[in-house]
Symmetry: C2
């Protein structure tokens, strides 16, 4: 009986691992560093070593393990080909084949984009339980978007489904985005985008009395905290973010019409002060047939990915 499964969420600095029972109970979670040197060639070996180490400690063999599910920070196609993971140093290769080569004992292996995995995790054990479809939006350094429809992740023809953060919302933007384009949604609505907008406004307005001018370090959190304390500039920045993101979500709703939007990522820790602004603008711009789509906060935090990775296997 295969009663166990491993979920592996690979990030740019750490790999999160989880040992689960196949009924969804998380037995143990831990992290290992992500070794990006040598174009990331040690990452998979490190992960498999960590898993084998855990299995040894528990006297498990591959006969006991249903499989390994993996989330990676980049586009992945249905056949398991990683398109490119800049943060890991990885170029294009088939992760499926590579894992089978490095560890032939693995029974099942699945891989998807990390945000897709998080979406599936939230639908399994988090904010979107018992929903048939959901779109997860993560607001972190960039903007991630994972889409689950009919309990299935939509990966896209080139693995780029949910690469929504690079929608151009301002062709007049002068600063380039990481992707080379200008005016991408994530230049405004990610955690990093919020800080960028805050700095720009502070530079532009000489007379503002905002506390943001005197905080030690300007971060998305300091902006949200200042807004909660009633700082006018911080509130205006959140208004703008809510306006842009709320509108942008209507484009996603008009495409896949999910049962629910789940908002996660570091910036979502701001909670309702941000969520209500996104929701208000979503409703303002949404077509009536999906105007009432709920927007809710993610619940699993950093564990969403490992939950989703295991869900994929089952």
């Amino acid at each position: 009986m295969r009663q166990y499964a491993f979920g592996v969420d690979i990030g740019g600095t750490a790999v999160k691992l989880g040992l689960f029972q196949t009924d969804g109970v998380l037995l143990e979670k831990w992290q290992i560093p992500t070794r990006t040197e040598g174009q990331g060639r040690y990452i998979l070996s490190d992960i498999l070593d960590a898993i084998r180490g855990n299995m040894n400690t528990r006297n498990l063999t591959w006969q006991d393990v249903e499989g390994v599910g993996m989330g990676v920070p980049g586009p992945v196609t249905e056949d398991g080909t990683v398109q490119k993971c800049i943060n890991l140093g990885w170029n294009v290769f088939n992760l499926h084949d590579t894992v089978r080569y490095l560890e032939p004992g693995v029974h099942k292996f699945c891989v998807t984009n990390d945000v897709n995995a998080a979406a599936l995790g939230e639908m399994w054990k988090g904010a979107a339980q018992d929903r048939g479809s959901a779109v997860m939006i993560t607001l972190g350094t960039g903007i991630g978007c994972g889409i689950v429809e009919n309990q299935r992740i939509i990966m896209g023809a080139t693995g780029a489904a949910g690469e929504f953060g690079h929608l151009c919302i301002n062709p007049e933007e002068t600063e380039p985005c990481n992707c080379g384009l200008r005016g991408c949604l994530e230049q405004y609505c990610s955690a990093q985008g919020l800080v960028r907008c805050a700095k720009r406004e502070l530079a532009r307005r000489e007379d503002t009395s905002s506390v943001l001018r005197v905080v030690k370090e300007l971060t998305a959190k300091t902006v949200c905290d200042a807004a909660r304390d009633g700082d006018a500039l911080a509130l205006e920045l959140l208004d703008q973010l809510g306006h842009r993101l709320g509108w942008a979500l209507t484009a996603i709703a008009g495409t896949v019409n999910p049962e629910v939007f789940v908002i996660g990522g570091g910036l979502a820790n701001a909670g309702n002060i941000l969520l209500e602004r996104i929701q208000r603008n979503f409703r303002k711009y949404a077509f009536h047939a999906f105007r009432e789509t709920p927007l809710i906060l993610a619940q699993l935090g950093n564990d969403a990915g490992i939950f989703g990775c295991v869900r994929m296997l089952l």
Copy 2:
């Protein structure tokens, strides 16, 4: 052996019907008028009478028929509930149950939105054959959008997947859209939207020497014909349409990342003069991971719907 199937595409003025072999050969197609009086209560009876009449002529019984697939001009949820079809007079009801009640002999019955059906038809026997996923955009009175992913139609939580024509692209717009909002994509990029924009420009510019000022009837076709003849205003109007629509398709690509976009509907008859403008702007704004998504013209014309309706059954 059930060797036959019926495809039924219900439009606001006519219902298109097709008798197919289950291998996809269209044996016969015909139309009946759509009787919208009495809140459209005769439409389904008329359709079933037409089908039974055809079967009698051919000495077929329901034992010979795999099923009936239907496309309707409005949102439909997975369980067959029509959300509302303004053009037919229909309110909310379950079409599945109603058809089974009116004709218990039907073996299989499927229903979806008409543009979804057209998308599936183009993937089966039209422009997008052998593709795993496609997004079909129809540019007619409004803008329709049908999404097929992994050979499955995405219908959406409230049947509103693909209701993309009401994405707000200009909050400053003063004229309302049919939907009650202002600045919807289809106010600019549908056939009717093109005419609206042309009229507005003609009213705004007193000095234009455009032939559009003297055409007998200003239609999307006269604008496209004038553009083909080099009329500066007509070309500018198509440039604007291509710019708006090309950009808008990047939002769909960044959500579901289809293998191909299929452009259909009456306005698509303009052909390459329109397609190249949409494509150029799509490429300009698209994220690199889906920048090369092909945009192609639909091939099945008005038959796409009946093909797709039958494809659904099989």
